[in-house]
């Protein structure tokens, strides 16, 4: 498996109308706080050293909070540089709901988790499947439809996506 570059990932995101921010681990909280629009909900990040605990984000929200939130924050353990794809895992923290209900989805991904292309991502997927983690969505850009006579973003899923890329180290 080869690593993907932050630069290529960001270029792909631009093509998808998706904003992105690159931060170092110690800037992470401040940078994310800048992106957050409230009311926000979140699923605790699947990374040991990064947490949403201190941010204005409701974790394990109630159904009402979920419906009222304008933004949802989740973490992705994989990103595909050539496509701008991230993963939304079906975890008990409720990532799937947090990523689906609000119109604005913010995804945190670590530089070291970037894969170069879909083929590399499949290598990762296979090892995940072997490890028993077998439910996730590969999400690429905002939800969209052409069914109403023109291309529209924001259908049953988010209308806007913002990716926060956390550099490996300073």
């Amino acid at each position: 498996m080869s690593a993907g570059s932050v630069q290529e990932f960001q270029q792909s995101l631009t093509r998808l109308d998706t904003a992105s921010t690159v931060v170092s681990p110690n800037e992470f909280e401040t940078a994310l706080a800048d992106v957050i629009e409230t009311p926000a909900v979140g699923a605790e990040l699947p990374f040991e050293d990064l947490s949403l605990e201190e941010l204005p984000v409701a974790l394990e929200p109630s159904p009402s909070q979920l419906r009222e939130a304008v933004m949802g924050v989740t973490g992705s353990r994989m990103g595909i540089a050539s496509l701008g794809t991230v993963a939304v895992e079906s975890r008990s923290a409720g990532d799937e709901f947090v990523a689906l209900y609000p119109e604005f989805h913010v995804v945190v991904v670590r530089e070291s988790d970037l894969r170069s292309d879909l083929s590399d991502a499949f290598g990762w997927l296979q090892s995940e499947f072997e490890a028993g983690r077998r439910s996730l969505i590969l999400a690429t850009g905002p939800s969209s439809t052409g069914d109403m006579g023109a291309l529209v973003q924001g259908v049953h899923g988010p209308e806007r996506v913002h990716i926060v890329i956390v550099r490996d180290d300073d």
Binding site: R134, S135, T145, G146, G149
Partner: protein, 737 residues
């Protein structure tokens, strides 16, 4: 005399007036998107994925019984349930029971052709269950109470204005829904509430992975994600053919499916789910409780694998390939006829486009396939578009043959049996036999020309042809030449010293009997480039009978051609072909009609005329032996089957090298497609398809010479623009210097 169950002229006319504009616009957008996306990833890479995907599908269908067993084991080990349903009724009964067990009164669905196939909504509604389609295209169709017009975009025949009108009438919203944004926002809210209140979510599955008991869903809107996660109970309904071994085999399909369908590199969402998933259940009755309402409900998962004719298709050597279909819709988007009329004419009970013939024949039966099968003209533009390399035209031919054979012989047959030298059973419709035996008509027509031409074009004859054979009187008939190309060639005294190559120029039926000019030009060009040319005594390739679904006759012709060409091939002659549809027979269809070695021999030894000239020039033949183009403008339409063989660029390259300024059309087909455009009930459709081509050449037609490589294309262009369309080889003719 048209067969009653086929699409009639009236219906086609209505669709051309009502739905055609939207369908053209949307399918062409998808079609262009596919070409661009493939170019983006690189043709060679795309080809590798196709090859791999094809292998996986072949192997999976071969191993299907095992894979079904394995899926049952793994899904059940994960905590889900699998039900293998024999037919639609069985599947519907099972799903109804699951719904009834939960006392569920609301079900939400994401897009699933298989549930359309089994009419699941109707079955649930009969039990008073409230069913909502959440894919916006399906939602539109549900509200309009129509059937899908396209596998991927079920409502793509509807304009934004029509949807606005439909929604405003149905829902009486306070604000007008006069833009795609407003319509989408309205549907999002409306369906969002229904999803939240639903007890059961039903999805399809684009792929089922046996080894882990997982499903893959390909979507852009996010509704399948909601349907699979918000209600506690998830039912996935999929045909048994959707099973592949494991996640490892998913990769080529993940690369192919969206590129082929919509021209996206990947879908917005590729869901890989191994249910029951860990996403917590939600309790909306405790809306203010944290942790999603702190529900203690458990997730439930049911996988319904539907047979409904598929196991029989698996045993059927000709229909089996249909099961490889991943339902991307590329065969519909690349089809000129489909672009004009859409799935409401070119489709059956559920499926639409070229591959629908295979699906409907296997699932519903030949009678349903017969309703639209004639709309496949065999142009073959879908062949390279299909991500799993299904020979869609062949499936259409086989089904046509079966339909012909299923007919009762009537009076016409008793009459025609004695007259036409084919191998078909009585029952094959008279018109099909007429077109299928066109070679005989051409031979007699030529022998009696010009009298035959005068008689054939007389009002009385045309009227008779229209009423008996359904040949549209608005079409010009080919005029036969008294002296055939072969006779002309034999009478010449021509000798090439030390030939660089020896050529057997194949005298296809059109060139030999009707358009001898292009044959003569070909001979002069080849001789000028140092070849010795003979025109051997070889009969029709079998293209004409094959296009009518007369496979036995085509096979007979193929054998005769192989026999006649054998001595030339053995003597190291190159077989050069002018008519692209005949070359396509040699290269593609003979694979089905002849033993492999025989086919390969003919394939390897035969060339399209411009391809051959290109090769001669590349190998040092003197380009100055041919007349220079002097910057003259040429508008070139390459034959559909020629393009499928990848032979369009040779003509462009030669003409440009000679100094012509070439404008090439980019339509999939001229619309004439052999006999298709002659048939009365398809005349309007054929002209509609042709008009797109005409529009591309209209402006250029004053200052450019129009050339086309196929006979039907020439005839179509003659009738759409002005007579005088020529074959490109005629521009190279030194005799015209």
């Amino acid at each position: 005399m048209t067969e009653s169950s086929q699409p009639d002229a009236e219906r086609i006319r209505t669709l051309l007036e009502t739905e055609s504009d939207e369908i053209k616009q949307n399918t062409r957008l998808f079609n262009a998107g596919r070409y661009d996306a493939i170019e983006g990833v690189g043709e060679a890479t795309h080809e590798q994925y196709r090859t791999r995907a094809r292998e996986i599908k072949e192997e999976s269908i071969e191993r299907l019984p095992d894979l079904i067993d394995r899926t049952v084991e793994t899904v059940e080990a994960n905590g889900g349930t699998v039900y293998v349903a024999d037919d639609a009724e069985d599947a519907n009964r099972y799903v109804s029971e699951v719904v009834a067990d939960e006392a569920a009164d609301r079900v939400v669905k994401s897009k699933s052709m298989t549930t359309e196939e089994i009419d699941l909504n109707e079955a649930l509604e009969a039990d008073d269950v409230d069913v909502w389609e959440t894919d916006l295209g399906e939602f539109v169709i549900q509200i309009a109470e129509e059937s899908p017009s396209h596998i991927v975009g079920p409502s793509l025949h509807k304009s934004r204005e029509e949807i606005t009108e439909l929604f405003e009438r149905e829902f009486e919203p306070e604000e007008p829904l006069d833009s795609a944004q407003k319509l989408t926002a309205f549907a999002r809210r409306f369906l969002g509430e229904r999803i939240d209140e639903a007890d059961v979510g039903i999805t399809g599955a684009n792929f089922v992975m046996a080894e882990s008991g997982s499903i893959a869903l390909v979507t852009n809107e996010g509704n399948a994600r909601k349907c699979a996660s918000i209600p506690n109970i998830h039912v996935a309904v999929a045909g048994i053919e959707k099973i592949i071994p494991s996640i490892a085999e998913l990769e080529p399909f993940a690369e192919l499916i969206s590129r082929s369908a919509t021209g996206q590199d990947v879908p917005q969402y590729l869901s890989l789910l191994t249910p029951p998933v860990d996403t917590p259940t939600m309790d909306f009755d405790r809306a203010d409780e944290p942790s999603f309402g702190d529900s203690d409900a458990k997730r439930e998962f049911h996988l319904v694998l539907v047979d409904n004719g598929r196991r029989a298709m698996r045993q059927d050597d000709e229909l089996r390939e249909t099961l490889y279909c991943i339902r991307c819709g590329a065969c519909a988007n690349s089809c000129a006829n489909f672009q004009s009329v859409g799935g409401h004419a070119f489709g059956g009970e559920t499926y639409t486009g070229g591959i629908a013939t295979g699906w409907e024949a296997g699932i519903e039966g030949l009678d349903v396939a017969e309703e639209f099968n004639d709309l496949c003209t065999g142009c073959s533009r879908c062949v390279n578009a299909c991500p799993v390399k299904i020979d869609i035209p062949w499936i259409n031919t086989v089904v046509r043959d079966r339909i012909n054979r299923g007919k009762d012989p009537g009076f016409d047959d008793l009459l025609v049996d004695g007259l036409v030298p084919d191998e078909e059973v009585s029952g094959t419709p008279l018109r099909k036999r007429f077109f299928g035996n066109f070679e005989t008509a051409a031979r007699i027509g030529s022998a009696t020309a010009p009298l035959s031409n005068i008689v054939a074009s007389s009002g009385v004859a045309r009227k008779a042809m229209e009423s008996v054979l359904g040949i549209d009187a608005r079409r010009d008939l080919p005029a036969f030449e008294r002296i055939t190309l072969r006779e002309w060639a034999r009478s010449r005294d021509s000798h090439v010293e030390d030939p660089v190559r020896r050529v057997a120029l194949y005298p296809d039926v059109y060139t030999n009997y009707a358009h001898t000019a292009r044959g003569k030009a070909a001979i002069r060009v080849l001789e000028a480039l140092g070849c010795e040319v003979v025109v051997p005594n070889v009969g029709g390739s079998g293209r004409a009978p094959l296009s009518q679904g007369m496979i036995a006759t085509a096979e007979e012709k193929a054998r005769a051609v192989a026999e006649s060409l054998r001595s030339y091939l053995n003597a190291d002659y190159d077989v050069v072909v002018i008519e692209p549809s005949d070359l396509a027979m040699f290269r593609r269809e003979y694979e089905k009609l002849l033993p492999p070695e025989t086919q390969e021999r003919i394939d390897d030894g035969s060339y399209e005329i411009m391809e051959f000239v290109y090769g001669l020039l590349a190998n040092g033949a003197d380009v100055n032996a041919l007349p220079a183009g002097d910057g003259n403008g040429v508008a070139y339409h390459s034959h559909c089957q020629q393009r499928t063989l990848g032979l369009e660029s040779h003509t462009e390259a030669i003409l440009e090298r000679l100094g012509h300024d070439v404008l090439t059309s980019d339509v999939e087909c001229c619309g004439m497609a052999g006999s298709f455009g002659y048939k009365s009930e398809y005349y309007d459709l054929s002209m509609d398809v042709g008009e797109t081509l005409a529009a591309q050449f209209m402006e250029a037609s004053d200052e450019r010479t129009i050339v086309a490589s196929g006979t039907s294309c020439m005839e179509q262009l003659d009738s759409l623009l002005s007579p005088g369309t020529r074959h490109p080889i005629e521009l190279l003719d030194p005799g015209s210097k």
